[in-house]
Symmetry: C2
Subunit: 412 residues, 2 copies
């Protein structure tokens, strides 16, 4: 029988009533003839509570224990979902990550999936099980300890199962009804997209549109898993939500598909760094070892053998970045005058696969921001996106102006 | 290094502050040179919450899913306890049941421990780990699914680890400071015992003194594990609490060690049962199959081929017992005139290993109750205890009178 993967996020399984509603949707797909793999998150709020306990207990926690603690929320919803389906006479059972076993690397708290053996679960489907309910977000390291995949990791779990089982589609049920041209809370002109290309979704996901975890989109792109984002609170239909798919499937084609933003950015500048070959490698490997996720990097022109190095990172990693830089300075690996952190910045980006073949998008973006009197602090670009760092107070204005300028409220 | 097992119940790990207090106690034992195995329960209230969700979702739940859900609470406290110890610079790590692996039978929701391999954990102790924090109450069935040991199962987990590792002692930290001659809420003359014999504790545990789970005491007796019950809220010392140990270790020796009671009893009488060989077997195997825990049994003298059969069971199993008896009657296996249930009874017992060598305890007990005008409905005895069923309204009076009469407020 064809396999369908259905993933339910925290708000979709927030309580027993919501779990029942989600189970009914699963029942509809089972009735259509699918063998269904359901991936569940923890009830909304549970993982945050657990993370809070871990951080309060041990600010620099052992990630192995963090994983053991925070993975427990998904186990609860997996069991409850299986019981709910059984009550509906749908043969179902729960699987925890280690039972599959969903094998991962040993990078605790942000492990990557290595392998999902399909034999056991396929055998159970053969024996009459119609739904396998899998606890999302978790796996098992080579040494047998529990790992988690990082926040939002249940999306990645879902896509990985869809790839491993050759699923017809991977439906991600969440509390929004699809992917929008931008955040509807910022402008009511935001428009839901029927389809979006993997590459665009990838940029939007990594730029702060919190609908899907970046890695899940990467994985879907690599294995060509048709991914659908839809709301568990709206009418069930085969065309609801937004389909994330290959470029070729998309008929409508605008140069810019969406405007994304991220509020949680900080801009860090190392002033007067001794400029010698390998200095960038020193700085960024030190930051990497400290677990700082560096995003944008800008190096100013070198004068008299010294330069300024600017990078951005999530705002909650500023202390860690400062610590890493001070540590490198004390160890003699690095020489700089000062490290200046600007925590009042935001990142705004325009994304679209059409940018590959259309020029002038950057120029138009900068002109729009200039017209609004918004100063650009850092710029980075890729083939299909342009991002700028600006003062956080202008973020909403910038998103609205760009959404208007690129006419994203109108269908292609 | 010698091994010590320390078990912390739900109230002792109810929040992060209590976990820290418990961890400090563990640290004291580590400093003395022990390798410590810590068994933790779920934070108080958590398991009840999970059980509530399961029962609401599916009244006749699949016990395998029940186990998957309700075992999650212990995983949280195990990880948090390990992190807390690490913060105190005590090398510690958490182990979930399946990681040990603590192998059990496949009797989900009330599994029995089959084996605890010690190699892995012993190796970790050899590598410098000083504390293994184990999630109590859970294990793994032969088919790889999670099992739980029944309510209070963390005590059993603790004793089983103490036996497997040849621990010097198994300390059960709870919210009471030891085992008392009777419930201090019934009489303020109740006195804490310094030591109590396994056999006595077993009778007290199964008679309703809720300090320790019966199975944990059985296991401790079988493997001669010195078991100490003490409060996690009092000053730490080597002589705190009550030591449950072999008879030979106990110097003070009174005929009666304690008075126990149980409120949740019901007396059931089958009137005019056709008395033929095998009739008792028919009745009690039918009750057993229905999951009724029969305690006392009394058969009256047979007259004209008919007899009355009386038994007691927990009050919440009365409906089940009635159903089983009706079922047997309809099936033609049993013939009786009426089944009378008396739900207003309580059981009061005196327990003491001294009763083996002293006569007259029963006579004294009956006299005391008679002096108070309390009618005895059913009597059962074992080598070291005498139990009577009386009207529930006299329960407290009976306990107080017996406690006084056997002078339990005075040390031996």
């Amino acid at each position: 029988m064809p396999v369908l993967v259905m993933k339910f996020g925290g708000t979709s399984v927030a309580n027993l009533d919501r779990i029942r509603r989600a189970a009914k949707r699963v029942g509809v797909e089972v009735a259509k003839g699918y063998d269904v793999i359901v991936i569940v998150s923890a009830m909304s709020g549970k993982t945050n509570e657990l993370v809070g306990w871990v951080e309060e207990t041990s600010p620099l926690f052992d990630a192995r224990e963090y994983d053991a603690v925070v993975s427990s929320g998904e186990n609860v919803t997996a069991g409850l979902m299986a019981l709910t389906l059984q009550e509906m006479d749908v043969p179902a059972r729960s699987w925890q990550g280690w039972q599959v076993p969903l094998r991962t690397t040993d990078a605790h708290a942000s492990a990557r999936i290595v392998e999902i053996p399909t034999e056991n679960m396929t055998a159970k489907f053969g024996e009459g099980m119609r739904v396998a309910v899998v606890a999302g977000f978790q796996g098992i390291a080579p040494d047998g300890r529990i790992t988690t995949l990082g926040r939002g990791g249940s999306d990645t779990t879902a896509v990985a199962f869809a790839a491993a089982f050759g699923a017809e589609r991977c439906d991600i049920y969440t509390d929004v009804d699809g992917v929008y041209t931008t955040d509807p809370r910022i402008t009511d002109k935001a428009r839901k997209l029927d389809k979006i290309a993997f590459e665009e979704m990838l940029e939007l996901a990594s730029l702060g549109a919190k609908v899907l975890q970046t890695r899940s989109v990467e994985l879907a792109m690599r294995y060509n898993v048709r991914l659908r984002v839809l709301s568990s609170f709206e009418e069930q239909s085969d065309t609801a939500g937004t389909l994330v798919c290959e470029e070729e499937e998309i008929m409508e084609s605008k140069v810019v598909a969406g405007v994304a933003y991220s509020r949680d950015e900080a801009k860090m500048t190392l002033l007067s760094v001794a400029d010698r070959p390998g200095i960038a490698a020193t700085i960024f490997s030190s930051l990497s070892e400290a677990g700082v996720n560096v995003d944008m990097i800008v190096q100013n022109i070198s004068e008299e053998g010294r330069t300024d190095m600017t990078f951005s990172c999530p705002i909650n990693q500023v202390a860690r970045a400062e610590q890493a830089m001070e540590h490198s300075r004390k160890a003699g690996a690095l020489n700089f005058a000062e490290l200046v952190a600007d925590k009042d910045v935001a990142k705004v980006s325009v994304v679209g696969i059409g940018m590959r073949s259309h020029t002038g998008v950057a120029a138009k973006m900068f002109q729009v921001l200039s017209n609004e009197g918004i100063n650009i602090k850092v710029i980075t670009t890729s083939e299909i996106k342009i991002s700028v760092l600006i003062d956080r107070k202008y973020m909403e204005l910038a998103v609205q102006a760009l959404h208007d300028a690129f006419e994203l409220d109108k269908a292609a």
